[in-house]
């Protein structure tokens, strides 16, 4: 029997980790991730969750301890944000290269400087190519369900990769939402105990983390790349099984009003709820806008995106990170790659928004829509290739 409760999303995320019966947790506090790790500490202290909780002295050590724990075969969980994700950056690559199915709740936040504790995607975009499977969530229910699914995906023998569940700092992590929690029995049925391929144990000594000379490095990385590419079908399979067993449907790419609309917004995370509000308001005015959101971000669901976008006229990529001197934001660049490699005839536009916690109202999104539909390729101030919503120059 599932139960429905009003709960802060961060607390719900830790309850999901408990439902997944995590065995080792190593984490270091940083806003806005703190409530997740605090609540996990409480669950362990109360005896409600039987897990090793390692109070490390930094995020670098958090990820390092996760690697050590996961290598012993323990189901391992962590969570971080922003500066913390940057500090563990080095070890993120090692966790994926060593094929360890660690799961992380990444509570997305801006990067310093200037220091900002508020939400955007600067942290995860800097970590996007670390070889982790990555999903983005729009609401608390998705966070809970995704954490449970993440272990099943990551631990699948066809995958064996770490996985991040992304949720926006504050605008998602700190809101109270009604959330349906599956029962422990149902989760146990869905997610059996982790059965690792190799572990660090004296009875069967293995060497992990050896180095590669030029004649093997490419092959090692290639096999890892194939693993993350092929993980897409496992993600799909697990989402389908989840839908069947728990009645909530998940897709690699989620769509909203895409059938009728020629113009499509694309974004990641909690902004999608605002975009849907904008879409509904536009509909009342007789205008059609569609939304394509990537639930799965790594591996990049190119074929699925192509299916939804192939006949569209205008695609507007909205992203919460400064391009940092690149031509456009990172998601736009991938979309441009998709457009070119599939020979799509489409107008592609890029907008940056919501940096460091800046709110974007549905009205502003509606303005972007009006701009885009009323002209050909947009030109932006200062000869940029992208617009920055609401910026005061």
């Amino acid at each position: 029997m599932s139960t429905k409760k009003g709960m802060e999303v961060s607390i719900a995320a830790s309850v999901a980790a408990k439902l997944a019966r995590v065995e080792a947790i190593a984490a270091y506090p940083i806003t806005p991730q703190t409530h997740i790790v605090e609540h996990l500490a409480e669950l362990v202290a109360n005896g409600e969750l039987e897990a090793a909780y390692i109070n490390v002295e930094s995020e670098h050590s958090a990820m390092s301890a996760c690697v050590g724990a996961s290598a012993t075969g323990a189901r391992t969980f962590t969570s971080t944000s922003s500066q913390g994700m940057e500090l563990m950056h080095e070890i993120l690559f090692i966790a994926s290269g060593m094929r360890l199915p660690i799961v992380m709740a990444a509570v997305n936040r801006a990067l310093s400087s200037p220091l900002s504790i508020w939400g955007d995607h600067s942290d995860i975009m800097a970590a996007r190519d670390t070889g982790w499977v990555m999903v983005f969530c729009e609401n608390g229910q998705e966070v809970v369900d995704s954490i449970i699914m993440a272990f099943k995906i990551a631990e699948d023998r066809r995958v064996l990769l770490p996985m991040m569940v992304n949720l926006d700092g504050f605008s998602l992590s700190h809101v109270i939402e009604p959330i349906e929690f599956p029962s422990q029995e149902d989760v146990d049925r869905f997610l059996p105990p982790y059965n690792p391929l190799y572990t660090l144990h004296p009875d069967k000594p293995v060497t992990m983390g050896a180095y590669a000379m030029p004649e093997l490095y490419t092959e090692a990385k290639y096999s890892q790349e194939m693993a993350i590419r092929n993980s897409k079908s496992v993600v799909k399979e697990v989402m389908d099984q989840f839908s069947r067993e728990f009645g909530r449907t998940y897709n690699l790419v989620e769509t909203y009003n895409t059938e009728k609309a020629d113009t499509i917004f694309m974004a990641l995370g909690s902004i999608n709820e605002n975009i849907k509000t904008a879409i509904d308001s536009l509909k009342e005015e007789g205008k059609e806008l569609g939304l394509v959101s990537l639930r799965l971000f790594r591996p990049f669901p190119d074929a699925e995106l192509f299916e939804v976008l192939k006949n569209k006229k205008k695609i507007v990529v909205l992203e919460r990170v400064m391009p940092g001197g690149a031509m456009n934001g990172p998601l736009f660049n991938e979309m441009a790659s998709l457009v070119v490699s599939n020979g799509l005839n489409v107008q592609l536009e890029n907008f940056i928004f919501g940096l460091g916690g800046r709110d974007v109202e549905p009205e502003e999104l509606m303005e972007v829509y009006e701009q885009v539909v009323s002209s050909g390729k947009l030109s932006h101030a200062d000869n940029k290739n992208y617009g920055v919503i609401g910026v005061r120059s």
């Binding site: 390692i54 390092s64 690697v67 996961s70 012993t72």
Partner: protein, 308 residues
């Protein structure tokens, strides 16, 4: 040393956990220390090793020199990885997923991986009280990357980043006292050792193995390549380091300091310094300065130690 004489420390003295075929330089005392030390730890051990010489000489894919479960993650985090391992096997035993038994978790890093870049991770792991042994194999520089100075490089030594010159004397700072830093964490066992004194070393490994909680062993590991000495001189220079008082052998058990081998009367430091290429440029004045330092530190150590 005859393997038979190891029987006091291990029931399987002949068995090699660090096997031949590794790529360490001729005469390397770092690999010698590990080879001997692991015999005492025995088969029920897991190693977390930092990036550095010992990692690089032992594990080019797809080969390995280790007949123990072994993991390398990065340069600065051996202690954090070991924390994860210790916690991981602990919870799996608690949950009955693996059989309960004593497994030695051993973190191994060089002086750079310990006293510089890995100090924070080590401090955290010691403070948390993990049941593990940390071995610092101190060859007094970053050898793996080409003999750059570390904070454990001794005063006056030439390295590629502390070159002597018109304005430079070589390393201009004093060697960081890492064992003292470890001891300041109030962990149950800290020791210094050197494979030139194998039985002293093995006895300390045995104690570390039996320690519940963190144990730290700082092993002076002569590196012929980096010290610019002939490859058959590693044992000799290790002995001189001890006999001159430059590297005293002691242990700190639950806060009590005990000198485990008294080198008195101390040999003059010049005996140790002369003949090492890394000190070739030192003037008599600088050598005298080193002697003063050693005299002072040795007296200081004696003042708060028990003698054997």
């Amino acid at each position: 040393m005859r393997m038979k004489s190891l029987e006091r420390y291990t029931d399987n003295p002949e068995f090699e956990y660090a096997t031949s075929g590794h790529r360490a330089c001729q005469g390397c005392a770092e690999i010698l220390a590990l080879r001997l030390g692991l015999k005492v730890f025995g088969r029920d051990s897991i190693i977390a090793m930092a990036t550095g010489c010992m990692e690089i000489i032992s594990t080019p894919l797809p080969t390995t020199s280790w007949r123990l479960p072994w993991i390398h993650v990065a340069f600065e985090n051996a202690a954090a990885v070991a924390s994860g391992i210790e916690s991981g096997i602990g919870i799996l035993m608690d949950k009955g997923k693996i059989a309960r038994k004593d497994i030695n978790v051993i973190a191994i890093a060089g002086d750079g991986g310990t006293s510089d870049i890995g100090l924070q991770a080590l401090s955290g792991a010691m403070e948390r009280g993990h049941n593990f042994t940390y071995i610092c194999v101190d060859n007094e520089a970053y050898m793996n990357t080409g003999i750059q100075r570390s904070s454990s490089t001794p005063f006056g030594a030439m390295t590629t980043t502390s070159p002597p010159g018109k304005k430079g004397i070589g390393q201009a700072t004093q060697k960081k006292n890492m064992p003292k830093i470890a001891a300041a964490h109030n962990i149950p066992y800290v020791a210094t050792a050197c494979p030139s004194y194998p039985f002293d070393f093995l006895a300390k490994i045995k104690k570390a193995k039996a320690t519940k909680g963190p144990a730290y062993i700082h092993v002076l590991s002569v590196c012929p390549t980096g010290w610019r000495i002939p490859s058959d001189q590693a044992i000799h220079y290790g002995r001189l380091a001890v006999r001159t008082g430059i590297f005293p052998l002691y242990e700190v058990e639950n806060g009590r300091y005990r000198i485990t081998y008294s080198p008195e009367p101390l040999r003059p430091v010049s005996e140790y310094i002369k003949g090492q290429g890394r000190f070739r440029h030192l003037t008599e004045d600088l050598i005298a300065e080193i002697q003063d330092h050693v005299n002072h530190d040795w007296q200081d150590l004696k003042n708060h130690s028990e003698m054997k």
